[in-house]
Symmetry: none
Subunit: 212 residues, 4 copies
DNA sequence: AATGAATGAGCTTTCATTCAT
DNA sequence: GATGAATGAAAGCTCATTCAT
């Protein structure tokens, strides 16, 4: 999918990248504290370390900042996940590793993800589908892991089962970030991962047996 | 937990209730369409059928409206759930019924729930804990169902397992409302319920067996 | 032609009229001094005697103020003209009276007219035709006076001649307002009127004679 | 009258001339479309074919561009007129030729002239008198033509009559450019010239006769 | 001489809230 | 108790101008 371009009046691509990184970093901090709507463009500029005029040299509307933030978060999450998932695919071990990694990423990027989920709907009709597509891609990564296990004979699941389990994993990961105010009181991250995977694997293996 | 009071300059309690109901009804419709921040108090007043001056006779700040809306949504959801859960508790059937009902409620109240989750963070430090408490109560309802089954000898789960399963059910329900843009393409509500409960029950029963 | 409506959030028509009159009065003064573009909405509000918020209760955009100003100027000019033109039409006297009155009005409303001519093109595609129509109506008033004289046998002009003479009169009137920086040094208003009408009447009568 | 200087930090006079010509050409196009105020300096620079930094090497303020544009338009008009008026002065023919030429120039340069008249007031107190002087010079050209005819015995007019007729001719010329939205529907340029000169000459000759 | 990134004052417009009627 | 006109702080965004390269 082609990157959705955000217009900039500055030509130097390198500089655009630098400034936008500053902008995103500042914006995420602010959005975490007060949300997108309560954050002003002036505050974003200040947090990024430049003037309001300069901010608008690199974006066209405030919403562009939100899009850039969402886009950057997805890219980071995806990158972090792909790092770990390249080796030994097709085993239940690799599946568990994938889940563990994902939950860790969600823990680390908790507030970024929180920001994204609470502000996504403020994106315009233009930017929204692009962001949703990215999410589907991420769910797709878990589908891949599951399908590899099926090909490898380690699991036996219907297509729909694969789909729903991938969604469940994804949502459980987000849940750790989203609902940490409740979950942190009950479990450590390690406990959470252990309990969720145990529950999942028992559910999965049971399928496997019952389909034999 | 004592209801968090929202100040009103009108004394007649009955009238306050009537006006607030009008207000909430109008506000929910608007929040669904454009979110809390993009909805103006004037619009809320108009949708409620009275003037902006009157609106402010029944609340003190715009945020009060949000609180009232969230509160009312929770009450509705809870009420709908309790309707169905009063009978034949302690059986796996009743648990499945509880889940099924919850998922249906989430389907029906999808946009209300969406509104709530995306706007909760706009609540003041004052109102937030009250709303979160309500959510814990709802998760607690699933814990209850599970514990009844354990007392009844139908399940054998640790306390932590109960907690996490209750959360999972709750989040899977929300997920149907939240991520319906993705899920609707893959499953009908009935399929979704069937797949999720099947997966859950296999996971649970396995526990049961392995603990024997 | 139906009045082009300018939206107001205030319902009380009487009040709208009062506030808009204040607004127009203030705006004309400012536009005279600095033109439309260099005048800020805050200045307009202040000159009108109310707050910026109140200003925007009675208009929707800054351009609305310009439209209101133009509209009001035309109405005043037209009203002033019609006052005098009701009696003894069809004589050369009445024509001369009409011209004299028009030139006097242009003298009195000099700066208003100047404002209008320099800012009209800032009107949106929406408002412009409405204003131009008003101008054509005013030229039409001189065509009427001329045609009445023709019907009365006092003049003998072709249709095209009537058109161009009406335009000439109109433009000569404006010219007194427009170019007063140059004309005032050369003539008094009375002299100007005398010279222009003398020149015109000789031109007209000559036609009359040559067509006989 | 000494040219009003516009400061430039570039020393090379030749280059200054080149760059300013590019600038004026671009600016006129833009001013025609959107007026002086709605045109940005960036757009002017771009239309001129160089950067915003370079633009400011050749002017000091945006207003300088307007001045340069007005100045250039006047020069063009004047030049075009003088071309034609050098020969056979002092006859009514030459007067008619002068008028005809002027009206043609006004037709050709219609939008430039329109720009000038609508934006002149945006000139600073400093530049304005200089531009107005130019206009007086142009009116003066018609005074000259008339006076030549008087010297030649072809006309017999008072000084004031000469002045007002020169103004009338000038304004009628502008009117063709200014009010072309109305006039074009009624007359071709040739018709317009014919009607106006016929009317004028009859008025003038009548004077002539009546003064005998 | 040419460039264009940076600046920030200043613009138009919105909207939660108040208060006289 | 109901109304809605008035308020003004504050928002998003623009653009003439500067200056280091």
């Amino acid at each position: 999918m082609k990157k959705r371009e955000v217009q900039s009046s500055v030509k130097d691509e390198k500089l655009v990248q630098i400034r936008r990184d500053q902008m995103i970093k500042g914006a995420v901090t602010l959005f975490k504290q007060k949300g997108f709507h309560r954050t002003t463009t002036r505050e974003i500029a200040k947090a990024a370390g430049f003037s309001i005029g300069t901010l608008y040299e690199y974006i066209r509307t405030k919403e562009d900042v939100l899009y850039l933030v969402c886009d950057s978060i997805y890219d980071h999450v995806k990158e972090r996940l792909q790092e770990d998932l390249e080796h030994k695919q097709g085993t239940l071990e690799s599946l568990k590793l994938g889940i563990t990694n994902f939950f860790h990423v969600m823990d680390e990027m908790q507030s970024e993800v929180l920001v994204m989920y609470q502000e996504v709907k403020s994106l315009s009709k233009d930017a929204l589908p692009y962001v949703l597509k990215k999410e589907i891609e991420m769910v797709g990564m878990f589908e891949n892991l599951l399908n590899k296990c099926i090909e490898n004979g380690e699991l036996d699941l219907t297509e729909k089962q694969v789909k729903i389990i991938a969604h469940d994993i994804f949502v459980q990961g987000q849940m750790w970030g989203f609902r940490r105010w409740a979950l942190r009181k009950l479990f450590t991250l390690e406990e959470y991962i252990e309990l969720q995977t145990e529950l999942l694997f028992k559910g999965i293996k049971k399928y496997e047996m019952s389909n034999k």
